[in-house]
Structure formats: structure tokens, C-alpha cells
Symmetry: C2
Subunit: 542 residues, 2 copies
């Protein structure tokens, strides 16, 4: 392996190993198996691909194996997942997804057929492990990577992709705008087990020397075809930025903050013509249909500040995205809708309701939203708050925001912090929505915590490395991993311990129901004291 | 100054300076003044005390000046703020608070009188700058500090207090359980400009060698009096943990996780007697009344995991806290109610509604809540999500959670991260609640961002140091501070820039209304192109 790729991280995540669940028709779905000290194990959804499989051989020059080679063979008539679903067919991708989500394949098919879920799988990206985006399924997280004219290299971006999926990113967008866009994307696609999204207008703009007035439908179309051929799974298209909406942004506090949105606004103004993305939208649908590329209809007029949230420009564009959704679906092309941006908490739910109403429940894919503008350096948190809220309300996929948002390009650490923050938001939303499998992991971790199985607690965490490092900072010695206390309260102040004492006492004395306990306590309390009912307590707060 | 106190941080926060607003009757309320590069300034609420005043002389051995010396002189008849408010009197503390919050003093008085807000000011803590906790006012943040038997010193804890209020903590709780509890508290109180809270049962337990069975009302009472004399402003009292509620926790996944709750549960079991905190509650009220110490009625049975949220044990205790609230108020003692804990998002709002209904709208003071159990190492985030949600619903003060929660004692960096995270949650809630002053800072920062006033953007941030450091990581050179781009997109890809071009173009051509713009654009678009309508774009996402 060449030295330039040395930095890609491989190997199992601490405390777990790669395993596979066998589905029908020879389908093998990867999972991450966490071994617990009590002999049990806990399986979790796994996005990390072969990189965390100790048995896999990774060669970044050769790329990943073509997992889905031949899968499309039996559906030449209905090339897209949407067309198949409409025809009542359950594709291999749907079966894979059903095993992965722990649901019936019929549910997958029905949600895809009605457009409420998408399976982004370009026929030219056979390396990908199929996944589904829709509000009936686990909430997904996207990580943005990509170099700019100012900084970073192909190798760094591939490393960020592998790093992002290690920590749970379900899809990755390559937003490169610098040199070697094609080569960077090729390297990412061939090595990515997750769907890759792009914004083709970035590359188109590079081709015309960054002058938006020089853009044309033909140049854009050729760029899209180039990317479809490479295997891009979904594409952001800002086809809702109409000429008549541009003036609606003039009085905004922060105008147009979407790159794609501002490129198209500039083009519309320069030509005083309607956006070529809008006027040629049906042709675009035909191209995407041939490869089963999914539309991610971009919100080019999303608010860039609390002040501009839910304004006329934003909502006008959203309504147009609904119109485009219906056109795309008529062409059997899958559609997601992108959402804001910067939105105060009280205006978040309205975004979901309007999107569902106007865009016929197409999966909503939102950036944050950031719930305040005042914390640059912490926008993973300002937006994590909004992300959890909007996902609870029905958003299907969350685009992460890193601590560097508004300030600089994310490095490796920022990518991890962004992904973990958004995994938290997504999982909190899944719990709130009552997803049938979500709470199992919380219960497993809390039980490990209560029973002082420190290693299990670390292994069940979203980030075992950090959990253990924080613990070891104050209590590094090996015995502390099995100690019945932590550094916060010390050995004599642990509430977990006293609770266990109370419980043991109740069980030993047959006090297994509330009534029995109440009846028995008068008699038994003396014993409890005699046995040394000593309190030693925990964890936090008061 | 002795070397042991060298680590206390003094000096103005980057980009700002201490100023004062003059109120009636010679009251001077401290604020933080952020100077902007356009000659304007932006004032923000300031919790940091004299430590950020470049003109102040700090001597930790002597303590802070007694700001409120003599203020109680004119209300001997009504010693507590609640008694004064009920009598229709506006105290100096209420006037101070009104200036600080930017509202009418009558509103402050009325909210205190009906028990919906509290002003925690022990008559023996004259160093404190009065503040108010209530849902009609800015959402407040508490930071917990305190050493344990395992780690940390008096000096470290004083430093953490000063550090926490520098970043915006409105109150600080000293949860020390190790040696020298009295001395640590004394040093903190004499140097604290914010209210200090404690949990007296911790010290009481130390006095009996950590054996809860040895606790007694008399010992507890004497400990409370000792702390009242020192100047503690509010005290957590777990008087709602009744004997009959203890069995309700036996079947929980994580039992009792509150230290105070488990101490009292152990005492009740050992003696098979009703909690002495409950049976002696009226006597306790009389003690607190004499010093105007505020009750923070503790939720000793709060859930320690998602599984245990909103269960019978938790809600039974909450109802008892309501009963105790009415007793305390009858004694003219101010009351807050503490809340959970670990709660999934869909069960958060119910906590606020029940608290308001059962506890007559006493200010709710919640720990998080954590919205999932699966992310130790990131519990500032799991709980920041819940904190924003519960504050939007009406919680008046949020108790922070640091990244070390469940894993170890927070260090200085953790304290800062916890405080900033909770300032974000509090501010996001204030925006969502439509607080009349909240959005000004968002607008000021977003305008600075849009106009590429990088230094102003840093200065207006919750954490100017981190914002600037992140920016400088990729673009350290001095000219980048005034550059019209950032490292994410580079000079030719900035949407802020194109938006400004669109706006300038519109203004130059008299296109100042939507109609005028629409009418004029056909004619003008040629010009825009001729003038080089070049796009250079931004910031994030797509």
C-alpha cells in the first residue's frame, strides 16, 4: 500500500467485531457485534464497511469488492427502486435493507413506492451496501467532506470518508470545489460502502472558470452524466431557485447562503432567464432515471440566520420543490427534499409539516437546523439541538454540522465530533418516535452502568475510545475498570451501590412486589440496619 | 497574592470590557460591552463579576466587596424577597434585577409574589449581584463544582467557580463531599458574585462517617444553620423521598441515582421511619426564612435512564414536592423545584406541565435532561438537546452537564464546555419563547458575518477565543481577519459575496421593493452581466 494512504483507519471498533446476518437469497448484512462481559452480545447497525472487518483486506487502489454486482439483473424493465416498488417488486436492495432495519421487506417496498422513503443506489456504485432513508426507518446521518481551493488533498478526503463511516455516517457528500474534483470523487466512490452524494453545479462552475454567467444547460448536463457514470448515488439540484424568487432575498439579513443557490441566482440575474435546472428538469429526470440516481432537491434559499427563518423566499422555493417532486416521481426517479439551515426551535416543526404537505412526504433531509447564531465554534451543538427536534418531527436524514462551521474546513477530529453529535440527535429522535429497536441499546448501556460493568459501558457507547479515556483520566488503574464506584463520588458516596443494596435486601426477603415490600419493611428495617446499611453514592447532580 | 491562587482567570473577555448601567437609587448593574468595528457596541448580560473588570483589584483572601451591604435595612419587617413582594414592596434586589433583565420592577415583584420566580439572596452573602430565576425572564444556567474524596483542592474549586461565571454560569452549586467542606465553601462564597447553592445532606453525612443510619434531624438542622450563617443562597433538600416511595424504585432499571435521594432512602429503610426532612419541614422553613435562603426541592427519585423516565416513583415524589412548596410559601420562603434526569424527548414536556400544575408554577430547575443513555463522553450534548427542549417548555434554570458526566470529575475545560453548551440551550429556548431581547445578539452576529467583519463575529460569540482559534487554524494571517471569504470555499466560492453583489446591484438601480425589482430586472440583467456578475460562494452545506 502506498504511503500516501497510510492514514486510513482500519480495524474493529474497540469492544466489538464485524459479524453478518444472513437474509433471504444469500444476502449477508454486516452488523457490529459488541461482546459483553456477562457472555451476552449486543448487535448494532453498522455503516463502517469492510474497514472494521479484521478479516478484510483493504486496497484503496483496487477499491472495495462489488457487493451488488448482478443484483440489477432481474429487473431490467424497472431499473429504479421506485419503478420496481410501484410494480410491486421487492428488489434485492429492499431485502437487504429490511434485514438491516429489522423490518418486513414489504414495508420497505411500500414506503419506497409511495415516495416516503428512498434507497440511493446508483447502478454504477456496486460497492455500496444498500440503506434506506425515510421517516419510518432509523434516522440517518450524512457527513460532508470535500476539499476547497484553499486546503486539503485527495488522500485526506478518502481518509475523512472512512473515518466518518467508522463513527456512523450513513451517507457521505463530496463537496469538493478545488482541483481534481473528478479524481477525488472516483477514489471516494470506489472505496465507499455508503451512498455518495454530490452537488454537480460545483464541478460545472469549475469548468467555466467560476463565472456563473458562463454556465449552460449543456455543460451542466454533461457534468451530471459524468457523475452518474462514476456512480454518484444522489445529487443536490437547486432547481427551485426561480428567477422571481431572487428579489425576495434582497431584504434578508443574510441573503442567500447556499452555494448552489447563489450560483443559480447569479445565473438567473445575469441572463434574466428562468433557471435552466427548472426549465430542463424533465430531461434531468431522464438522465437520473437511467442510473437510478436519487434527487436531493436543494434548498438554495434556505435561511442563513435566525432572522431569515421561514420567510417568503424559503417557503416559495419549498413549494416549487413539491412541484418538481411530482415530476421526478412521474419519471420513476427517487426524491429527497433538503431543508434549513438556521431556524429557532419554535419554527422547526412548521418546516416539517409544510414539507410533508407540499412535497407529498418525500424524505426530508435537513442541515441542522442551527437554533441560534451566537455560538460559532459550537455549531455542532447549536444545530444538534435543532436536528434532534426536526428528526423527532419527521426528518429522515440529518446533514451533520461540525465545530468548524462558519469558521474553517473540518479536520479529522471535527468530522468525528460532527458525526457523533448527529448520531446522538438521530438516536434521541428515534427514541422519541418510539422506533421499535431504539431503546435496546440505552437499556443495555444503563444496565451495564448500574452493574458497574465499566468495560461494557464503554463498548456500548457511541464512542468507546472517548468514554474510556475520560474515565481513565482520573482513575487509570486497571482495578478501577471493575470498581463499584467512580471518581465523582468516590467509594463511599455511590447511589448505584445503595440502590443495589436496597434491591438485594428486598429480594433476599421476598419483597418482590410493592405491597409485599410495604408490608415487610416495618419488620425488616431493623435487619437492614444491623447488616450495615451503609450508603455510598454516585454519579452526578445532587 | 499567594501562589496557590495563581490560576484564577481575570481580565476582560476578548473583544469586550466591563461597563455599568445606572438604575434608580444609585443601583449600578454590571454589563459586558462588546465594541464593534463599525463604532457601535453591543451590551450583554454579565455574570462574571469583578474578575473581568480591568479596574477591579482581586484579592481572594479578602473576598469581593459587599455590594449589598445595607440593602436589607429598609425591610426588617419582611426579611425575605417573597414576604416583601407579597406586601407589594419593591426591594433594591428587585430593582437591580429589573435593570439587569431590561424589564419593569413591577414585573419582577409580581412574579416573585406569586412564586413563579425566585431571587436567591442569603442576607449573609452580600457579595452577590442579585439575579432572578423564573420563566418570564432569561433562562439561567447553573454550574456544579465541588471536590470529592478522590480528587481536587480548595484552590481548584475556587478557580472553577470564577471560570464558570466567566463563561456565563448564573449560579454555582458547591457539591463538595471530600475533606474541608466548610473551608471550601467559605472561600467560594466570599469570592462569588453569583448565588451559591449546596446540598446540606452531603456535609451532614460526612459528619457521621458516611453512615446514613446515623443521620438525625438535629445534626442535619445544625448543618443547615451552619451553611445559612455562611451565606449559602439556595439549598437542595430531598424532602420528597418518602418511605412509601422507596419500594417504587425496586423494579427500576437504574434504581435511585440521586445522591441525596439514596441517602434518604437508606435512612428511611434503616429506621423504617418517615424522612426527617419531611416530618421537620416546617422547622426547616423557619430556619431558611431567617436568612432568605431559597429551597431547591430535590428530585431524589429522578430517573437515571431512559427506561425509568416519568415513572411512578418520579411522579409520586413530584406531587409531594408540590405539597412542600405550599408549606414553604406559607412561611414566606422562596422555592424552586428540581427536575430530571434522563428523559426521551417525547416525555420532556409532560414533566413541565405536571410540575407547573402540581407545584403551583414554582420555577423548574432541571438537570439536562439527557435524551439518550448511549453517549457517555458527550453527555453535555445528549443533555443540551433535552435542556433546550425543556427550557422552551418553561424550565427557568438549567443545571449543566459536562462531557465527564458518568465518567469522572469535570476539569476546567469540561466546566467551560458544559457552561457554553448550556448557554446555547438557554439562549435557543429564549429565542423560541420570544424573549424580547434575545434575538438582538443573533442579528448582530449574523450581520457581522454577512459583512465579513470577522473580529466582530468573534467578539459577539459565546466563546470568542475558540471562534478565533478555529478560524486561524486554516487562515492565520492577519489579512484573513478582513478577507471577504473563509477557508471553506475560498475567495471565488462565497455566497455571502454574491448576495452582497445582488443587493448592491438592486440598490444602485433603485430596485428597493419586490415589485420594482421584478419590473427592473428584465432591463438591468444585461448590465449586471457586463459588470462581471461573478460568483464566489460560502459557508457550508450545499
Amino acid at each position: 500500500m502506498s504511503t500516501s494512504f497510510e492514514q486510513v483507519t482500519t480495524g474493529a471498533i474497540h469492544g466489538s467485531s464485524k459479524a453478518h446476518v444472513d437474509g433471504p437469497d444469500g444476502i449477508r448484512v454486516p452488523i457490529r457485534r459488541i461482546a459483553l462481559s456477562n457472555g451476552e452480545h449486543h448487535d448494532v447497525y453498522d455503516t463502517s464497511g469492510p474497514y472494521t472487518d479484521d478479516d478484510a483486506r483493504i486496497d484503496l487502489r483496487a477499491g472495495l469488492p462489488a457487493l451488488r454486482a448482478g443484483w440489477a439483473g432481474d429487473r431490467r424493465e424497472h431499473v429504479t427502486q421506485l419503478a420496481s416498488a410501484k410494480a410491486g417488486e421487492i428488489t434485492p436492495e429492499m431485502r437487504f435493507v429490511a434485514v438491516r432495519e429489522g423490518c418486513a421487506a414489504e414495508l420497505v417496498r411500500d414506503e419506497v413506492a409511495r415516495g416516503r422513503a428512498v434507497i440511493p443506489v446508483n447502478v454504477n456504485h456496486p460497492e455500496s451496501e444498500p440503506m434506506i432513508i425515510g421517516k419510518r426507518f432509523l434516522t440517518k446521518v450524512n457527513a460532508n467532506i470535500g476539499n476547497s481551493a484553499v486546503t486539503s488533498s485527495v488522500e485526506e478526503e478518502v481518509d475523512k470518508m472512512v473515518w466518518a463511516i467508522r463513527w456512523g455516517a450513513d451517507t457521505v457528500m463530496d463537496l469538493s470545489t478545488g482541483r481534481n474534483i473528478h479524481g477525488t470523487r472516483e477514489r471516494i466512490l470506489r472505496n465507499s460502502p455508503v451512498p455518495i452524494g454530490t452537488v454537480p453545479i460545483y464541478q460545472a462552475l469549475e469548468k467555466v472558470g467560476s463565472d456563473p454567467a458562463e454556465l449552460s444547460w449543456e455543460l451542466y448536463r454533461d457534468t451530471v452524466i459524468e457523475q452518474c457514470e462514476q456512480g454518484v448515488d444522489y445529487m443536490t439540484v437547486h432547481a427551485g431557485v426561480l428567477l422571481r424568487y431572487v428579489p425576495l432575498t434582497a431584504k434578508r439579513l443574510t441573503g442567500i447562503v447556499s452555494r448552489g443557490g447563489s450560483i443559480m441566482a447569479a445565473w438567473c440575474l445575469a441572463h434574466h432567464a428562468e433557471s435552466f435546472l427548472y426549465t430542463h428538469f424533465s430531461e434531468l429526470c431522464e438522465i437520473l432515471r437511467r442510473y437510478d440516481v436519487t434527487f436531493s432537491l436543494g434548498d438554495g434559499l434556505r435561511p442563513g440566520s435566525i432572522s431569515d427563518a421561514n420567510d417568503t423566499a424559503q417557503l416559495a422555493e419549498l413549494e416549487t420543490l413539491g412541484e418538481l417532486t411530482r415530476i421526478a416521481r412521474a419519471h420513476d426517479v427517487q426524491v429527497m427534499i433538503e431543508g434549513p439551515g438556521h431556524v429557532p426551535m419554535d419554527k422547526i416543526v412548521e418546516n416539517v409539516r409544510l414539507e410533508e404537505q407540499w412535497c407529498d412526504e418525500a424524505p426530508f433531509y435537513t442541515l441542522g437546523p442551527l437554533t441560534t447564531d451566537i455560538a460559532p465554534g459550537y455549531d455542532h451543538i447549536t444545530s444538534g439541538i435543532g436536528a434532534a427536534r426536526i428528526a423527532e418531527a419527521g426528518t429522515a436524514m440529518l446533514c451533520y454540522v461540525t465545530p468548524k462551521e462558519h469558521l474553517g474546513l473540518p479536520n479529522r477530529d471535527d468530522v468525528k465530533t460532527g458525526v457523533i453529535t448527529y448520531k446522538i440527535a438521530a438516536h434521541a429522535a428515534d427514541l422519541a418516535k418510539g422506533h421499535p429497536h431504539a431503546q435496546k441499546r440505552d437499556d443495555a448501556l444503563s444496565q451495564a452502568r448500574f452493574e458497574f460493568r465499566w468495560r461494557d459501558q464503554f463498548a456500548l457507547s457511541l464512542d468507546p475510545d472517548t468514554a474510556q479515556a475520560f474515565h481513565d483520566e482520573t482513575l487509570p488503574a486497571e482495578p478501577a475498570k471493575t470498581a463499584h464506584f467512580c471518581s465523582m463520588c468516590g467509594p463511599r458516596f455511590c447511589s448505584m451501590k445503595i440502590t443495589q443494596d436496597v434491591r438485594d435486601y428486598a429480594e433476599a426477603n421476598g419483597l418482590t412486589s410493592v405491597e409485599a415490600i410495604e408490608a415487610g419493611m416495618a419488620e425488616k428495617s431493623g435487619e437492614f440496619r444491623d447488616e450495615g446499611g451503609r450508603v455510598d453514592l454516585p454519579i452526578s447532580g445532587s
